[in-house]
């Protein structure tokens, strides 16, 4: 039997409860059942370990002997440690470069690919490949590109007569960070590419066509219609980008170990070194605590900025 008058619909299914008392209970139980599995796994295997790590940050521990409680000592040491602040500075470069590099380029390419073009599928797959590669391969190939003697980059510069621009890309503290950044950006564009592509698929074709009929140029359509419609996804991408770059470790570890002379040292690398090489578990954990809260604050600020723009 079909009801002809529409049920009150505020989009939250909360009105299901309005039917009978049983349904209210069922709804609550459903919510709990639905979220519980994820919550359980997450709390036990992600939250608990990181809380443990926060606990270690209050200790002085070399991993073998007993721990001694030192309170906030690790943190005060942290704030006075110039090498640590160096890693924070480098990390900020990574964040800014990643957000300004990965997201716009991925968006641009996604927009290019979102049309009937011969071979779109191939380009899409290729675009995604770097994300799939192991950091070992990426590090080896890019190190070869950057090699100051026979690397492709310098060879290319020399071939077109720009000898003076050829640098010791990975070995010079001036350039190492930049060189590594290019590689980091390159690695993850593909990730945001597929996220954006998925989002672009969601835009109803009718709207775009309607715009065309109204005489809008492609540029206008993109700017005034497409972008706003996927803006939420753009924010998602930016947040993922920031959180990812604040944790960045693998690629830099393999490419430069944080050198030369700490010029590519980032927070996660610094933490790793302190914990596993210098046997300062407590201090290393303090760095982790910092990374966590710093990321939190940064993301909070950015979302406020971007969120406001939306409305």
């Amino acid at each position: 039997m079909v009801h002809h008058d529409r049920l009150p619909n505020d989009g939250n299914l909360s009105w299901i409860g309005g039917k009978t008392v049983h349904l209210v209970k069922r709804r609550k139980i459903a919510i709990i059942l639905g979220i519980l599995p994820a919550l359980l796994v997450y709390v036990v295997f992600a939250i608990y370990p990181i809380i443990q790590s926060f606990y270690y940050s209050l200790m002085d521990w070399d991993g073998f002997s007993e721990m001694t409680f030192v309170g906030m000592d690790n943190f005060s040491k942290l704030f006075q440690d110039p090498l640590f602040w160096n890693s924070v500075k480098n990390n900020l470069f990574v964040v800014i470069a990643s957000v300004l590099g990965q997201v716009p380029i991925a968006l641009f390419i996604a927009l290019l690919l979102n049309r009937k073009l011969k071979g779109v599928k191939i380009f899409r797959t290729i675009g995604f490949l770097p994300v799939v590669l192991s950091t070992v391969v990426i590090s080896l190939t890019w190190s070869l590109i950057y090699n100051s003697k026979y690397g492709m980059l310098n060879e290319f510069l020399r071939a077109i007569g720009l000898d003076s621009l050829a640098q010791n890309w990975l070995g010079d503290t001036k350039w190492a960070m930049m060189a590594v950044l290019v590689t980091v950006i390159w690695q993850f564009i593909g990730l945001y590419l597929i996220i954006f592509l998925a989002a672009l698929q969601n835009i109803p074709v009718e709207i775009v066509e309607a715009a065309k009929i109204d005489g809008a140029s492609e540029w206008t359509t993109t700017w005034k219609i497409t972008l706003p419609m996927i803006w939420d996804t753009v924010i998602v991408a930016v947040i993922l980008c920031i959180s990812g770059s604040l944790k960045t470790f693998d690629l830099i570890y393999v490419m430069t170990h944080g050198g030369p002379a700490h010029s590519t040292d980032v927070m996660a690398l610094y933490m790793f070194n302190e914990t596993f090489n210098n046997l300062q578990y407590g201090y290393g954990s303090a760095v982790s605590v910092f990374i966590f809260f710093f990321s939190l604050i940064l993301i909070f600020i950015i979302t406020k900025l971007l969120g406001k723009k939306m409305i």
Binding site: W61, F64, N147, N168, G259, P260
Partner: protein, 427 residues
């Protein structure tokens, strides 16, 4: 959607079954009276010494029905991470590969290792005590070295050196500088260096150079508080690295390639010299086109240095330590194993594989000249290797500091002061 989920579900089911069945296999191995000891090593590389070790262990297992040694190999670069994580979780293996000096000290301090004093006399006349000391803390011995790592040898291409005008290899630092200049003039890279991992400049270069300036008691004194890093001789030693760099002695990409890559450059003939340790002997002999063209020399002497100009930095090589948490039966089995493993036979086989050993071993003509030469340098006495003697933090500082010197970002004086500051702060 349904089809895909079905397929995925099917794969999942099959994998679960496969995993379960492989789980069952594990149950079958626990026999009655056999003592099983797990040994953690970094023997993942296809090097001759690793083959020697594994062969001996296989033989041991065969000959001893009641003891079974199980090897678990972890890549060298990840070994420490894994070992330390397990240590932090109090889950160390029964037997484990360790490195000497300050790298085994934390394990000892944490009470994780079993002293080997009761069986140490087994090697009394075979290995000089000075070398056994590398694995001793407070008078207790914790591991037996299988080899000696001489860290400071100069491998050179005889042709290229002769072409630069030097019929015999330089014996003093001044002469060496002359050779470097001559090589630069003819457009040949003097020294192949791969310092990406930071340790070569410290372990290979500074360990011996510093010793020739400061003498062998310097390090110990400084660490005890009876001396300081801010010492003219030490600073002069650090300056040598900067000086060599300014002379253009190294390849331009020295900070971006690792040690193995620089060795390849030398083998190829792109550089006239390569400073490395005894670990390089095997690979060089294996890969180079003309073995007779390669010579090996000790470091040159440094005028004005207070140390013994003949000594070479070296340290005990890999040792196997025993977990202090073993039952009596397991301890006995472990000792049995160690005695069998570190036997004359093993040392002989290692010598055949071009590994310098702490024991005195007969060498016949099949042994390459380079190896005999390198081996003889050790007879002049071994001086301390810095990263085996310094704490991890100090090692970190000097490693990074040397790299900074090569890019002109730090002076030797500043580095010395930084090291002293760290030392005092940690007291």
């Amino acid at each position: 959607m349904k089809k895909i989920s079905f397929i995925l579900f099917g794969i999942l089911m099959m994998s679960v079954l496969a995993a379960c069945s492989s789980g069952d296999d594990k149950e079958a191995s626990g026999d009655g009276e056999v003592v099983e000891l797990k040994l953690w090593t970094d023997w993942t590389e296809d090097r001759p010494e690793n083959t020697v070790y594994k062969d001996i262990i296989a033989k041991f297992n065969e000959e001893h029905e009641d003891i079974n040694i199980i090897i678990e190999s972890i890549p060298h670069d990840d070994y420490e991470v894994k070992l330390r994580t397990q240590a932090a979780g109090k889950q160390l293996p029964d037997l484990m590969r360790v490195w000497p000096g300050t790298r085994v000290a934390p394990l000892v301090e944490g009470g994780a290792l079993l002293p080997l004093n009761s069986i140490i006399d087994n090697w009394k006349d075979v290995i000089p005590d000075a070398i056994l000391q590398d694995y001793a803390v407070d008078g207790n011995y914790y591991a037996i070295p299988s080899n000696i790592s001489e860290t400071s040898l100069i491998f050179y291409n005889k042709e290229l050196v002769k072409q630069a005008g030097y019929a015999t290899f330089p014996t003093t630092y001044e002469e060496l500088k002359g050779l470097i200049e001559a090589l630069n003039d003819s457009g040949i890279t003097p020294i192949a260096l791969g310092n990406k991992a930071l340790w070569p400049l410290q372990s290979v270069y500074i360990s011996t150079i510093a010793d020739r300036f400061t003498g062998s008691e310097f390090l110990e004194n400084v660490l005890n508080g009876d001396g300081t890093f801010v010492n003219d001789q030490f600073i002069s030693a650090l300056s040598v690295v900067g000086e060599l760099n300014k002379l253009g002695a190294f390849n331009e990409d020295m900070n971006t390639i690792d040690e193995a890559q620089s060795r390849n450059e030398f083998i190829k003939g792109s550089a006239a010299m390569h400073f490395a340790g005894s670990w390089a002997i095997g690979p060089i002999l294996d890969s180079v086109e003309n073995v007779d063209n390669i010579g090996v020399s000790a470091f040159p002497s440094f005028e004005g240095g207070e140390g013994d100009q003949e000594k070479i930095a070296g340290v005990a090589g890999g040792g196997i330590a025993v977990n202090s948490n073993l039952s009596e039966k397991e301890q006995e089995a472990a000792f049995e194993f160690l005695k069998y493993f570190y036997s004359e036979e093993m040392y002989q086989q290692l010598v055949k594989a071009n590994i310098v050993v702490p024991a005195i071993v007969e060498m016949d003509d099949s042994i390459p000249q380079i190896f005999k030469d390198a081996n003889s340098f050790a007879q002049n006495g071994l001086s301390p290797v810095y990263d085996a003697t310094l704490t991890p933090e100090l090692t970190d500082i000097i490693n990074n500091g040397l790299q900074s010197i090569t890019i002109g970002e730090k002076t030797p004086e500043e580095l010395a002061e930084e090291m002293q500051k760290e030392l005092e702060a940690s007291r």
